[in-house]
Homo-oligomer: 490 residues x 4
């Protein structure tokens, strides 16, 4: 309903998997909203379309602000932060989901709020509810009024209809009806609540700064406020924080966890810590592994900025081929630019990236990228490098071929748009017009994330559905809608 | 006079030398304004406070737009670009000069325009006129009305009072009265004009894309529009481009050039080409040189992002100590942020940078930075690294100690604020609380930019006044105002 | 949740009764949103804080926009109107209600929308639901999630829980649970619906322009689009318009109507037609009646602009005292002005009004105003007139003393703030420091609106609760909350 | 150069003569900018396109702000007013001049500022310099750089080239070179200066509030700040106010004054005092005179709002025909509205005005308007009235036929667009399709403004060139450009 933000004229962003959301919550500081704004700023890479914050203050009740655009452009005004008083708050940053009808509306921006007989509650989540459509139909039939297109509003309505007496118990009731992969932060007037689904597909960590407790999608948002990492919220766990105490609940049946392996490859920030490991180090290790699996004779190793850099450094260190900044990113590239003339539109990628021509000329170049989705970016990067006079171009990809869409909170194209779902590696080489292209193996990736024996095919340690088609949670709505045929159906 | 942009809450930008300006001009394309906007976007690192574009179209005359803020935020609307028709245009991006009384006003934003009897002319420059105050006083006494605080308006008034019959001849008249270091782009109704001062202190290149001719501060702005580098405009040269022809004039006496060596160290973009050399490669070579001059035992080489990265790579390659991304920059950091609570303000630097804690803990770290100005950034960076648990911190600086202010278009603090003007390297080590700090030698820097024999002390090949106090152009106004005592005066 | 509009620095607006809302709906034209925007613009006097429009188009479904501020400042951009396609639409303008906790939020701005099993519906109303709090408590207990603080959201939830098969039938179900005084416009995917409560307290008219049917609070909004008045929707009637057909339903028990008499006095625009009479003519007749009831010797009759003008003209015509523009209104007065220095703040009223000093000096002046609420405006006006040198000031008020708050959709102060609830006319004269003050009698007012016999005390023809304390609909929530003690309770 | 304001979609404003400017200056109060803003707000009717304020404070020098749009929308923010410190300030509101090439640019908005050897000065004027083009050509040839298209910049340049030692003396030098009709407010660092041209065509008054001295185009701007009228600045007088003293100079040769008679008819606000007379009273007297000169049998006298109202009241009083508000103005009409569909565009005038249909139906209506320029408004008003069912329409115009353009600071169409230059009154009646149309005679107008004997044809007491073609100041530039053939040339 607002004037929607224009789609960025950004030739690269269209060809990346995009994490849908980041969540953050805090209890204890006098000015929770400032902490949430800082936390969301640190999680901005997980969602750049919109953000929201809800706080609670004993005297004045709940306060909310939802805005399109970046945290820094919205939640930076004293006037807005001052309108969000209280020592308890949660926040959310988001991309639009692929399935949203029309554009996102401000009403779709989380956190959501509901007033119950025993008081209000707010909730925000990262991930996806895979039976949301079925739940929504049922709830509307029983008289619920939905205010958004967001799947997560289902949780609020399920809670409203629960006959439990406390909000955490109502949330358990609701979550037992819900299928999917999600990490939740929620709040009542006095409690901060965090939940991860039974498989722990999406991340959620618990941090602390003196008497202040924090929940966050990633540890980098603890760093920005100077909090220390206490532990990850465990798969299937609900933590309820009140009066400085953390209680742990287990609303779901115990199952073997399957954390999203792509968080290691691309989604999380390189300065975050996942499963006790530096994400930067894991990505460097992927580069090392890749250099072993797919060696090549070359003069320079360059990264496709910025996400390919750690793996490129690792590749360089393992191969002995010098690392160089062959492609330079314009740090002033914003989200919009000139609606260009036809002539300029064709320059496309140069607005964001430029090749270090004097460096590249005549060189055999290894280009390390984190993934190939549609392949459109790879094509453009290759052209830029060849235009600059490179002698050879060798792609080395820090993930296995992305051949299956994700239904757990990541924005992926349909299967027929995924290059790896439709071509062999050799066909890709021809299609892209490069001298070679190689992907890390699935086992190699598992080794790089610390599984010395590689992937346990009978009981995989991670969710790797985007590479393997092995979906640990049934995508109910998608199957009903005929949007996907699972591999095991074939 | 406009609502001035708020000063960025950015703990780093306050401690860098800042190039004052970038200039760009184009003649030939149907939509010159789009080209100028693209060129200025590529030169944004040279000035982020404001920008301006003037174009000329035969039918409708001259058109102008001046705006505070980034190119991408202003010169991106079709409505604005459409208001700048014509196939001839020039543009400018700027920082405020240290000496401006009060804040910058939109009237101070270049290019400037003047109407003469033979038609209009527009002019923009990068650099500084060192006798501007004296000229201004004289012109006011003779009845000129100044519309801005900008020194460069003098040139327009001197031209207005010239009795020459053509605008290029009037410009020559004017420039002969002017002292300083400057690169100029100017335009009449039919001509694009470029000038570099006799010493060629500031850069200016000539490029070409088919029938379209381009002038730009740096080659990276040729790349963004796909133009190729023809050559640098030479020190003391004026080029006049009309009807696809480039004429070369020599309005100044021939002198030995003294290009600004700091363009190699920091100002220019790493993907630009200066004097036939890749800036990235030069900076990498500085790192190599630095590793030889100031070796150290350590576990990791890290850059202070982003400008220290090429030298850090060079240092790593020469020393064999692995390069790592120990400090991560938040790519969504904009120009403003929360007016923070006291508690949060103290977090300061974390808004922009975060340390890769899991990587740094227990390590001996070499930190490569491009320069030390006031030293405030170095202090903060050191604290972040030690907080993260580093065992040792060794600063290696990719330039000699910055001990003298620049008067040639660079925003430097007064001498008493420059750390290196007031401390020895060892005092700095103690002041900063690090295990060691070493600067590259002036000779080492000259070697890295390609002068195998180092600096020629009798006739230096570059302007290195900020390191040496050897000022090739007398800073007349500054001396009159008692703002500086030159080294040779001592 | 939005940045709230600043409170106007307007010394007069704080001392008027304010109509809460205006509604408008249209079915038939290709661009319903343009018609609704025009209609709301004509109804702007009924609510200036915010406005909203919802439309429906067969292909793309429902579309909505809600904005703070004036219609002309928001619903004027082609981009916004274009985002509201379809040939069926309703709209609403509003003031904030006195009882809203904190400020209005954009979620409180009507029309409201709900999705039911059989499709969506939107609804907007003018008036007040007097048992809204009780209904809300009951609905929340049964699991409804409210998205706003607006009473009218109750209707949507009651509809959602109805087991009727069509939306009009569900609306009847819902309205039978609702107490209060309201005129509703609503829409489904194919129907435009209008309802007036059983007493017809608030206005609603039916208009037509060829095949286009219109519902509007007042006839002036028919004029702006060139539609003609067909008839008033009758008290207790529901009209359902579809495919060019108007069906009439009677969901409520028949009762004797009691239209709001203050619509004649002040709320409606003078160019509207109420009950077949020109509002302007009625107000002129009030002035005539007032001159008969409360004659005075004087030199000039002046109006308190602008609402007092018709009655002042009538007073002049009946008394023979010349009418003059003694107080001039600044037509450029907007909603905000300088946050003034103390000195200037004291000038207050002069920003909006100025006395025609040369005219007033030495004259005995009759000042005709429409009503006295708190009396603060009267005090200021009196001071202005005396400062300008008037010899005498006589207030003549075009309504009886306002001694009781309105609970039917009008923003009135609590009883203890109403001057007439706490002073006799003579005490007011002393308090205001004027030579005389007289109000029209209640019977005189009834005569002026066309009831030749005056008020029928046993069965009053109008709702005149603000004058008489005789409330035709029980203000349930207000009594529960102890906010009012009714006269008959005493 | 800024984003220009959209042209108002206002069917009436296009058909009025428009005063070009209002000026205001103040010396003495601690916060001059607030006073100037208030004064300009009261003068807003004299220019709505843009405004500017310049102030001076001893410690910080001159400060300036120029903005497109209304005073209330711009000069209302504490942040802007706070940026204009000092106890001495002048301001200006303006329309664009008919002759401006392209749109107005912010650089054209007054006051103008110039820095001289003895300090700065700012200047703003109401009126027109009739030899500005000639002066500009001469100044450019001698090396002046013009920063605007505004004629008044000439004065600053002439002052810059004067060899006098003080600014008031330089201003006298400059004004002796200037031809035209103008009232000036100017300021130095310590003086407030006011000047009226030798004929006193445009108004300027001197006011006082304690120690604070004020200059203003009209007295209504004295009222808003509570200042009292001291006297009019006299034709040919320059007043210089410093340290609470008012000095009077006489830089021009004495001539018989010829004040603009149209200020009485339309330009000035009805609550201003001109030549000791209430403007309202003068306009009422015009109506009385008109009723005598051009009586008619009718049922109602209505004004074309709002400027026709005083004359309509006078007409009613003299004729005995009742005055009524037959046309109602929408007070929320702003400057822009929907870019309407074709269908809606045709509704045109209804956005701003609405006829009181119930009142007008079947009536013989006298419509009193202040003037007829192109006649387009008259046509639309007539149609509205007839559509509403009026039986007869009689136009009575409160000024003689406007047959000649004004060259003294009023925006008039060229002669061939003026209805009265091309038709007799009877042809107008047929063209407009009304029952009668009558204009007040020129002598009648003179009588109404207090000249009992009417116009002195040999030495007219007023400038009435727009009615008579008798131009008291030669329009040099216009004649050179062939834009006008004077009557005496014929």
């Amino acid at each position: 309903m607002p004037d929607l933000p224009r789609h960025p004229f950004d030739p690269l962003d269209g060809d990346r998997l995009r994490e849908e959301c980041g969540v953050f919550g805090v209890i204890g500081p006098p000015d929770a909203a400032s902490f949430v704004a800082l936390g969301l700023h640190a999680l901005q890479h997980r969602g750049q379309e919109a953000g929201g914050i809800i706080t609670h203050e004993a005297r004045t009740g709940f306060h909310a602000a939802h805005r399109f655009g970046l945290v820094r452009d919205n939640f930076t005004k004293a006037s807005l932060i001052d309108s969000l008083p209280g020592s308890l708050g949660i926040g959310h940053v988001r991309y639009s989901t692929a399935g949203s009808k029309g554009g996102t509306q401000i009403r779709d921006v989380q956190p959501f709020f509901g007033e119950f007989t025993m008081g209000g509650a707010a909730i925000a989540h990262n991930g996806n509810i895979t039976n949301a459509n079925a739940l929504r139909r049922e709830l509307i039939e029983r008289g619920s009024i939905f205010q958004s297109n967001s799947d997560s509003e289902c949780i609020i309505h399920l809670m409203a209809r629960s006959i439990q007496r406390t909000i955490p118990e109502r949330m358990k009731d609701a979550l037992r009806r819900v299928e999917g992969a999600f990490s939740i932060v929620a709040m009542t007037r006095t409690k901060l609540i965090g939940v991860r689904d039974a498989l722990g597909v999406r991340p959620l960590v618990l941090g602390r700064l003196g008497d202040v407790w924090v929940l966050s999608s990633e540890t980098c948002a603890l760093d920005i406020i100077g909090a220390e990492l206490v532990r990850e919220v465990e798969p299937g766990e609900m933590v309820v924080i009140e009066n400085g105490e953390v209680q742990s609940h287990r609303p779901f049946e115990a199952r073997r966890p399957r954390f999203c392996i792509f968080e290691h490859v691309y989604f999380s920030r390189p300065d975050s810590i996942l499963g006790g490991r530096s994400v930067y180090e894991t990505r460097r290790a992927i580069g090392v592994e890749l250099a072993k699996e797919a060696p090549v004779e070359a003069d320079l190793v360059c990264a496709v900025p910025d996400s390919g850099t750690p793996a490129a450094i690792g590749f360089s260190q393992a191969s002995g081929i010098p690392f160089a900044m062959g492609i330079i990113r314009n740090q002033y590239m914003g989200r919009t630019f000139i609606e260009p003339t036809e002539q300029i539109r064709n320059m496309g990628v140069r607005l964001k990236l430029n090749v270090n021509r004097a460096l590249i000329r005549g060189k055999r170049v290894v280009l390390v990228d984190d993934s190939v989705v549609r392949g459109t970016t790879s094509l453009k990067i290759k052209e830029m490098i060849l235009d600059a006079g490179a002698a050879e171009v060798h792609f080395r990809i820090a993930s296995p071929p992305t051949a299956w869409p994700c239904f757990y909170g990541v924005d992926t194209p349909d299967r027929d748009k995924l290059l790896a779902a439709n071509m062999t590696a050799d066909e890709m080489r021809v299609h892209l017009g490069v001298d070679s292209i190689r992907f890390i193996s699935l086992d190699g990736l598992y080794r790089a994330v610390g599984e010395a024996q590689g992937r346990d095919a009978s009981e995989p340690q991670y969710c790797d559905a985007c590479f393997s088609g092995d979906y640990p949670v049934r995508p109910t709505d998608m199957i009903s809608a005929g949007r996907i045929r699972l591999r095991e159906d074939a």
